[in-house]
């Protein structure tokens, strides 16, 4: 039998699970020979309260050598599931940027969550008088948390989505009882685009026009998107998204938005990026909505509601 493995997803979108599937043909032996999946809501039918749903109130996940959790923690049930996973799994892996840094759902941390959740039930298409459901649904927490804010995490595998090659590397390394090799450099350090020096950029522009490039030439002939004047989070984002040579968004000729999280796990992508811009003489006020530079890493208290009206958006 293979290594017992349990999978769970919390405040998530299934993208991490699809990234696992995107390992491709190597996935078949992994799933059927090397790993012994004991719990994984997306692909198998193990239930929390017994297979007939009549075994009491304690949520039960089987013992496993490896636990993989995607998604951040945003409601009370997520806390219970995560704690059960920690209790039952020897090694706990946080998969994807929601689990490691809060991810997109942690954008809610930048506003008054209680008020926002209430307003979702007051949209123009919603029946008048409706309110936030509160019967038998897990109550929402005050904000979205990364996993390591709630339990000890043994391994962080960021990305939105994570790179299938890294998921395979982590699993293989565990099977071979060695440390996985994961990128530590920045997106910029691994980007093949051409840097010619800063030129005369002193403001950044929104991505409302396409980058300049010759579609018949390789990506190494395209000028760096920051040097073209676009906000590109490459300098402050950890590498790892590249699958065909260039970082994924650069491959599409689109600037990076930082989906793998900060270069240093505890770094602050917004502050680091504002510093990077300032040190290159770029006016930070030209960044529209600077708080969304924390688009993927708003957990750990980094993104908070705006407290006063005088604290203006950049």
């Amino acid at each position: 039998m293979g290594v017992t493995t349990a999978l769970e997803w919390l405040s998530s979108c299934s993208g991490c699970e699809i990234a696992i599937l995107n390992i491709g043909e190597a996935l078949v032996p992994l799933l059927t020979e090397h790993l012994d999946i004991v719990h994984a809501p997306v692909i198998m039918d193990h239930k929390y309260f017994g297979q007939c749903g009549d075994e009491g109130g304690h949520l039960e996940i089987p013992q496993a050598a490896v636990g993989i959790v995607s998604g951040g923690v945003s409601n009370e049930e997520h806390v219970v599931v995560l704690e059960e996973m920690r209790k039952k799994c020897t090694i706990l892996i946080a998969l994807g940027s929601c689990a490691t840094h809060g991810g997109i759902p942690a954008l809610m941390n930048g506003q008054n969550a209680a008020q926002s959740f209430a307003e979702i039930y007051q949209t123009p298409s919603t029946d008048e008088g409706a309110s936030l459901p509160d019967q038998g649904v897990p109550p929402l927490l005050d904000r979205t948390y990364a996993l390591d804010e709630k339990v000890k995490v043994d391994l962080m595998l960021p990305g939105c989505p994570p790179n299938p090659a890294h998921i395979a590397e982590v699993i293989t390394a565990l099977l071979e009882n060695r440390e996985p090799k994961l990128p530590t450099k920045s997106v910029c350090d691994t980007c093949p685009t051409k840097r010619e020096g800063k030129g005369n950029v002193n403001k950044v522009k929104r991505f409302t026009e396409n980058a300049q490039f010759d579609p018949d030439k390789p990506i190494s002939e395209m000028r760096c998107l920051l040097e073209q004047g676009f906000v590109c989070m490459g300098p402050v984002t950890v590498a790892g998204c590249a699958k065909y040579g260039a970082p994924s968004c650069i491959e599409a000729r689109v600037p990076c938005r930082g989906c793998f999280g900060p270069v240093l796990p505890k770094g602050n992508q917004m502050l680091d990026m504002m510093n990077a811009l300032a040190s290159n003489g770029i006016d930070h006020k030209s960044v529209v909505d600077r708080r969304s530079l924390l688009r993927f890493s708003g957990a750990h208290g980094k993104l908070r509601p705006v407290r006063t009206v005088t604290e203006k958006e950049g």
Partner: protein
Amino acid sequence: MGKVLQIQPVTRIEGHARISVHLDDDGNVENAYMSLMSLRGFEKFIEGRPAEEVPRIVNRICGICPWMHHTAGNKAVDGCFGVTPTPTGQKLRELLQVMAHINDKILHFFFLAAPDFVLGPDSDYSVRNVMGIVKAAPELAARVVKMRQLGQMMIDRFAGKAIHPIAAVAGGFSKPLSEAERRQMLKDSKELLDFSLFALDFAKNNVFNKYLDVIGELGVITTGFLGTVDRDDGSLRMFDGIQRLMKPDGSFTDFEGVNYLDYLGEHVEPWGYGKMPYAKSWDEGFSLDLDAPKGIYRANTLARINVCDKMGTPKAQEALEAFRNVFGRPAQATLLYHYARLIELVYACERTIELLNWDGITDTDVRAKVTPGAGRGVGIVEAPRGTLIHDYSTDANGCIESANLIVGTTHNIGPMNMSVKQAAASLIKDGTYDQGILNKVEMAVRAYDP
């Protein structure tokens, strides 16, 4: 006092849900509910964001169908900024959106739903999954894995990211398609079309014909349907067209997507985070009563197959005719969602080939000039799970002022609740139930691919 069976988590679906079956003192079903357990709040936290950034935020609503949110979001932003995408930019968006349907359908049918049919609904939970299929039918499994991967990678290589895409942009697309890329995609899509015809054939022989009795009973309810059709010939459309709302008797009304608020409402129950859309324009209110439902329509594959007059491509049209000969129009049996899914798989492959053969597809004029500003845009596409509506308003700076989203899956929350209740009530009698019976209740949900 009876008891409550908590089937949690609902498994082999793409989200977080719980089924509660309430039994009375005699062990018969008093009521049953399917509740959505998660809420993230996209409508609110995209407020204030520059609108052109939003299509690369809302794609995170769903990692299985991110291209749907990405393209609907871009259409809505086009509307806010008053920009018309270049013809090639628009066709590239459609190409990627339709290609994304291919993987989705392979994933759902073979990885999530098939274990119930290939291994049997009553087989033990430990083998009733994709790992079990690999063991029971290794050649089939190998081919399925290879084909899903091919479909994912043809998107990934060209557009940079198959999951959480970035390549569609306000005004069109971020890069042109080269002739070499077009040829490779064409070759790959022809292979996928062959596979889709095999899949339909396989399912007819091994699933639909074999389980006709179950199909005729499990989770069967009577509702209306919502989908999108070509505004000229009424054929099924995935990327654009006019919305068609059909009543249970088959009569229908077509409406422009931008007017969706006149036709659709959203009902809220306190026991689940998901809102339940209903047909407000029928003026009968909302009720999940199995014998007399009010305002209830369904979306997703079976709905699209029912509302369309025909399929716009030849092989899919043949398949639709064969389907209608047996099941009529509108077909109501819930498990027929699987059959409709495979007809759509054939269509998506054929449509991909059509788009790749369109004259201007490799043109380099992929993005129109975009000027951020105030406005409103309603972007609609047919997501695998149903009609997807993104409605944004922007301020003078081109940042989101307000947003309203109706996400594909939600159209079916009401109907899923009805199917769960119908299945549970007909399968659980006098306190007798087991894991196989409860799995059948879940099968009534799985058909909707929530």
